[in-house]
Amino acid sequence: MFTDFDFNVIYRSLGYLFLDGMVFTLTLTVMSTISGVILGTLLTMMRIGRLPFLPAISACYVNFVRSLPLVLVIFWFYFLVPWIGQWVTGASRPVSVGPFLSAFITFTMFEAAYFAEIVRAGIQSIPKGQPAAGYALGLNYWQVMGHIVLPQAFRNVLPVLLTQTIVLFQDTTLVYVLSVTDFLGAADKVAHRDHRLVEMYIFVAIIYFAISYIASYSVKRLQSRIAIVR
């Protein structure tokens, strides 16, 4: 079965695959995770806050985004971002943005909805007495949030956040539809250039499997460690 395999094609393209493709994938994953968590936290604070309208807006956004497929959202932002750029900067034509920026904005906006739900679960796991005690001690809202609620909330949901990051890492393959050179895109280009689809796709699957498996195993370890400390 493996007799007519050409594993040499993988060796030849390793540099391209990892230095171009994997670096893109990992940069996108890390950056969108960070900004997604920040935006998600803001959405959650809007949602649980007492200000008028903001809870409804936040809830609508989260539910809306969560009911759309990621591919559709990728297309939306791919076509919309240039127009938004034009509107913001006042240029006369739609601003062309690179695929990385477009993908980055997409994943930030999309994953923020998912991160928001996770952070909300974390904040709701904190007993009401904690912020109440904080206010009683004379802390203001931002101090209560920053020093009491959020640190504990993040600690409680850290494993879930990291699991969602692994999902995000796998989801970044979908930038393929913009023909971006992420890890899958790079492999895809080599595969079609050299007509070695079987080898390349199997290789890609193994690499994704290895990274995701190791990452989710580490999350499991971390989870039990956190559980013991508590």
């Binding site: 009911s67 990621l70 393959t173 979908l174």
Partner: protein, 293 residues
């Protein structure tokens, strides 16, 4: 087989972004300020920087390049494929997922390890990569007669997509089933065994019926995930809603109308599924086992 249908789609974005139709500028600007999305235009900060995108909501009733159907018909046929793929793959997923989930709650070490390996395998490879594996790689690895037969099947990409999506979702359902069964009080299993039921009977008549009801909310969200994941199948050429949206925006250049329509259709189906699930939950609730609504 190797010439994928998306060669054309790679060209699309560049064209669509910069495309302008000067000859229709005036009338279409009127259209746009009137249309439902005209608010985008009214937000413009100065007159100079108006959005020069030409809204045309009547595009849906115009004839598509195939000369028979309108663009709306195309989208509807895409939606039908989406629903077809979603339901077929859901049946596969629920069946296999239940078996794997049950396996992981039995005492047999072999089946436990097998179930775990199955779940890890399908969970740790991105769906798109799995699609490519099933579509491009598996037919090559099979004996060539079977491989050729698969490639020549009509709608072979749709069947591949159903299989792939079904197996992908089955791993996730297996985890839900396992969690559902394990959340039952252990007295249930003991009591059923003490009454003389075989292990199989206790799963069939006692454990699974209750577990499925407890699992209904997570199963609903898995169904919606599965439904959303059908949009990935357009990468291997299934003409479902996402693919039809793309081809509509490619042929008509009305990108935002096409995307809006797709968004509304996805939202509608989502809403319907959620409402049906709520009805089901209310109907199937076991008093005392779940928080009643």
């Amino acid at each position: 087989m190797l010439s994928r249908g998306d060669a054309a789609m790679h060209r699309l974005p560049i064209r669509c972004v910069s495309r302008r139709k000067p000859e229709r500028e005036n009338t279409s600007n009127l259209d746009a300020t009137r249309g439902a999305a005209g608010f985008l235009l009214r937000l413009r900060p100065t007159r100079k920087t108006r959005m020069n995108y030409n809204w045309n909501w009547r595009i849906f009733w115009q004839e598509s390049p195939n000369g028979v159907e309108t663009y709306l018909d195309l989208l509807i046929s895409g939606l039908q494929w989406t629903i077809f793929v979603a339901i077929c793959s859901w049946i596969i997923a629920l069946t296999i997922g239940s078996f794997i989930g049950v396996m992981r709650t039995t005492k047999s070490r072999f089946w436990n390890v097998f179930g775990q390996a199955y779940v890890e395998l399908f969970r740790n490879i991105p769906l798109l990569v799995q699609m490519f594996l099933w579509y491009f790689v598996v037919p090559e690895l099979l004996p060539s007669a079977i491989g050729t037969w698969i490639k020549q099947l009509p709608n072979s990409s749709a069947y591949t997509a159903i299989l792939c999506l079904g197996l992908f979702t089955s791993a996730r359902i297996a985890e839900q089933v396992r969690a559902g069964i394990q959340s039952l009080p252990s007295g249930q299993r003991m009591a059923s065994l003490a009454l003389g039921l075989t292990s199989r009977q206790s799963y069939r008549h006692i454990l699974l019926p209750i577990a499925y009801r407890i699992m209904l909310p997570p199963l609903t969200s898995e169904f919606l995930n599965n439904f959303k994941n059908t949009s990935v199948t357009f990468a291997i050429g299934v003409m479902e809603l996402m693919a039809q949206t793309r081809s509509m925006s490619e042929f008509s250049f009305q990108v935002f109308e096409a995307l809006t329509a797709a968004t509304i259709l996805y939202l509608t189906v989502n809403l319907i599924v959620v409402m049906i699930a709520r009805q089901l939950e209310r109907k199937l609730a076991v008093p005392g086992f779940m928080t009643s609504h």
